[in-house]
Amino acid sequence: MKFINLNKFIDSKEPLKLTYKNIVVLGLIGIITGLINGLLGIGGGTILIPAMVFLLGQKQHIAHGTSLSIILPTAIVSTFIYQANSHIDWALALKIAISGMLGGYLGARLMQYIPARHLRKLFGIFMAAAGIRMIF
């Protein structure tokens, strides 16, 4: 099930048919992703990737790559606004970025040895618990 099929337009030189439906669907997916990025400070890939796979019929690896190319400029805009409000600690951000990159490399390497399915369930419980802790 997908709302709109854009593959004909995306994979060719044909311009996008700016139908009412296309504008609303693409616009809404974009705005929701941007709002989550700006309001909560997290990527937004958690929303954007499933939206591209299920609503726009994209393959997983295309959705993954394309979502990053959208979230990168989005995060830059959000960062500027947080910086304008003095809400960024650059020294800590640098430490996170360096150790995070090393971790990302390790994670990608470990991927084939880790039972992601079970870990995902554990991770979900962990997220819900952290969320409840933040609400109360």
Partner: protein, 119 residues
């Protein structure tokens, strides 16, 4: 030292494609007592260099459909401007609660989501 351990763990989760960034904010807030807005700002800033490297890699592997990027980025940039401005007008305790609600929903989604067949 704790900050490096948090960064490393979140990086590993990101590398495993399990959205480590989502847990970075609560880790900074709960474990390091960093204010909510600053934790979110750190998360955004730290994301940029990692994402830039990843985008270059994906471009080389032709995993990016630039037309789709263009059309979705228009809304996303507008949303980011509105969302970030909004976040900076909300006080920290409320923003923390909003984040918490989102995290619970994401946790439930993560728990029930099926792993994708394709890598």
């Amino acid at each position: 030292m704790l900050i490096y351990i948090i960064g490393l763990l979140m990086g590993i989760l990101s590398g495993l494609a399990m959205g480590g960034g989502t847990l970075l904010v609560p880790a900074l807030v709960i474990l390091m007592n960093i204010p909510q807005h600053t934790a979110q700002g750190i998360c955004l800033a730290a994301f940029i260099p990692t994402a830039a490297v990843a985008v270059i890699t994906h471009l080389k592997q032709k995993n990016i459909k630039l037309k789709l990027t263009l059309y979705l980025a228009i809304g996303a940039l507008l949303g980011a401007f509105l969302g970030a401005t909004w976040a900076n007008h909300v006080d920290a305790p409320l923003l923390r609660k909003i984040f918490g609600v989102f995290l619970v929903l994401m946790g439930i989604y993560e728990f029930f989501s099926k792993p994708t067949q394709e890598k």
